[in-house]
């Protein structure tokens, strides 16, 4: 009889214990000092990763970094409250903001980083040759709007459904290369370093660098959640300093950048040449302007990229004052 009376109590204790363990293991805002960063595995996003390396030693902050497949996934994580600072292409930030993701664009950190590649075994292609070819791109990447703009300028329509001039498939960055290699697609708009890899490994040929649209050379965006920016200004400032620091080191010491990106980020999968070709096409930087974002928004609306019901207004969410302050303090141009 006694044993049975203990049983329900035991079960309750077990249940509470499990609940407590679960509750205490999800950090959310528990460990206040940790800044949670969402990043992508691309060569020109390397400076943001490098922040993690110098965070403790040089900046006095704790940074926890999570890697995602593409910018849209970073936005999802922000919605879920898991990320304070994110690194994405502007397109993901824009469509995120349009869907109500509470972010500010606070800095830019790389420009360019796109190439239109064709299969190396096809005769050399011009844009006008693309009709009827199989084209692929990563959804939510800046390459998507660049592709749309380039095709639009050449008078070609595209969609993922049959019926337009070109039918495109959506694949993630590494899968684009694989599809090109296995000849499952003919043309891809690719990011770095994958584009340089495709060229250096011989299965892709550059058709063009898509910087002749109104967008120009696209800038990648560093975003912060509104909550982080407004409620933790001190941490935000310290992170920004760290970011500027890290980027400055990368710009002034290309060998450091190369070593870090190739060995730490890509675990030796990237050669020296591939890295330098990639960064040559996507140099590190800091700055971004509301105008650039607004042009990008307008282009996205024009071509229906992002399917935004309510396009955002750049002025309302591009806030570079923090960046400017930090740059002035650190004496960086």
């Amino acid at each position: 009889m006694k044993g049975i009376a203990i049983l329900p109590r035991g079960i309750i204790a077990l249940f509470l214990g499990a609940l407590f363990t679960i509750a205490s293991s999800t950090p959310s805002l528990a460990a206040d000092e940790v800044i949670r960063v969402g990043n992508l595995k691309l060569a020109h996003f390397g400076a943001v990763s490098y922040v993690r390396e110098i965070a403790a030693s040089k900046c006095g902050i704790q940074v926890q970094e999570r890697t995602f497949a593409k910018g849209l996934d970073v936005m999802q994580a922000i919605i879920a409250g898991e990320i304070d600072v994110g690194a994405t292409a502007s397109e993901a930030a824009i469509s995120g903001r349009a869907s109500g993701v509470p972010i500010y664009i606070v800095a830019g950190f790389a420009t360019g980083g796109a190439r239109l590649l064709a299969r190396s075994d096809l005769p050399s292609q011009k844009l006008s040759d693309l009709k009827g070819k199989r084209v692929a791109v990563t959804r939510g990447s800046i390459q998507e709007i660049l592709l749309a703009a380039e095709l639009g300028q050449a008078g070609l329509s595209f969609s993922d459904q049959p019926g337009k001039d070109i039918q495109i498939s959506y694949l993630n960055y590494p899968d684009l290369n694989q599809a090109l290699l296995t000849k499952n697609v003919d043309v891809i708009m690719q990011s770095e370093p994958y584009a340089s890899q495709a060229i250096d490994r011989g299965f892709g040929i550059e058709m063009l660098k898509p910087y002749d649209t109104p967008i120009g050379s696209p800038v990648r965006t560093l975003v912060m959640t509104e909550k982080f920016y407004n409620e933790k200004p001190d941490l935000a400032k310290r992170f920004m300093s760290c970011f500027v620091e890290a980027t400055h080191e990368f710009i002034s010491d290309p060998k450091l950048a190369s070593r870090f990106v190739r060995e730490t980020l890509f675990k030796g999968q990237l050669t020296e040449k591939e890295f330098s070709d990639a960064i040559g096409n996507a140099p590190y930087g800091y700055d971004i302007t509301p105008q650039h974002i607004q042009i990008t928004i307008d282009q996205m609306v024009k071509y229906g990229v992002g399917k935004m019901a309510k396009p955002p207004v750049a002025k309302e969410f591009v806030k570079t004052d923090l960046l400017q302050n930090v740059k002035k303090t650190l004496g960086v141009q």
Partner: protein, 270 residues
């Protein structure tokens, strides 16, 4: 009539309660609409999803227009893949299962390999599927076939081996040839198990199609859910999920009917 109403009431009680709770949570603002849209938003989105997107323009028959909604197109695409993939899996697994179930020697040879491959979920084959079959429907059908293959194989094998040897002896005693024994005794005898395997196989095929469609096809419920995710349309995600659930229910009811017909002799069906 009363008992039917009662039954209906009992069946609907849980879903209605959950809907009310859900609506309450959203109305009170406890969650962001992106994380959990209200059931009303989902319902509206579902309607939008199932209805035709363009107004009727007289260029086609009214019926064609009425059925042109995106959801129907997607559901058709997914179902087609399920049927093709399941078909491939079935056609491969059934004979192999029958033969392996009947022949202990063959079982000895093939079993270790099968037991190693079986636990690997089809999803793990995705990268290989793309490498081997490219993009589009072929890798998806491969994955779905894989998902259906093992349940059908394992259940068919079990079914054949549990056919009471006394039936086999009786059949031999009555002068039946091995072919007749196989077709008229082993196969019907194994049928309850085979159908069980088919049911599981279709279920798995349906699970796999959703994931398989996230690779590189351009329509289908899985594809649509992935797209909705990437455009932050949580309401459409849920609408898509509900559609999947409804279709799955439909398939299951159909299987139930088939079962009841084919196994009407079965003691267990009483």
């Amino acid at each position: 009539m009363n008992s039917l109403l009662n039954k209906l009431a009992r069946g609907l009680a849980a879903p209605v309660l959950i809907l009310a709770l859900w609506q309450g949570i959203c109305a009170l603002g406890w969650v962001t609409p992106q994380a959990l849209p209200s059931p009303i938003a989902v319902g509206l989105k579902w309607l939008e999803y199932v209805l035709p997107s363009q107004p009727y323009d007289g260029n086609q028959s009214w019926l064609m227009w009425a059925l042109s909604g995106e959801l129907l197109h997607d559901a058709g695409g997914s179902l087609w893949r399920v049927i093709m993939g399941f078909g491939v899996g079935f056609v491969l697994a059934l004979p192999l299962g029958l033969v392996m179930g009947a022949n202990a020697r063959l079982r000895e040879f093939a079993n270790p390999l099968i037991q190693v491959l079986r636990p690997i979920p089809p999803i793990a084959y995705i990268p290989l599927a793309i490498l081997w079959f490219g993009l589009g429907n072929p890798p998806a059908i491969f994955l779905i076939a894989l998902g259906a293959f093992f349940p059908i194989l394992m259940n068919t094998m079990a079914g054949v081996s549990q056919v009471d040897s006394i039936y086999l002896r009786a059949a031999r005693n009555l002068g039946a040839s091995p072919g007749r024994i196989f077709l008229k005794v082993m196969l019907p005898g194994a049928m309850p198990f085979i159908l069980s395997g088919v049911r599981i196989g279709i279920g798995t095929a349906f699970l796999v199609v959703i994931v398989a469609e996230m690779i590189a096809v351009n329509n289908g419920l899985g594809y649509r859910i992935l797209e909705a995710r990437e455009y932050f349309w949580t309401d459409k995600i849920i609408a898509g999920m509900l559609s999947i659930g409804l279709i799955g229910l439909g398939i299951d009811l159909a299987m139930e009917r088939l079962n009841r017909h084919l196994l009407r002799w079965h003691r267990g069906m009483q």
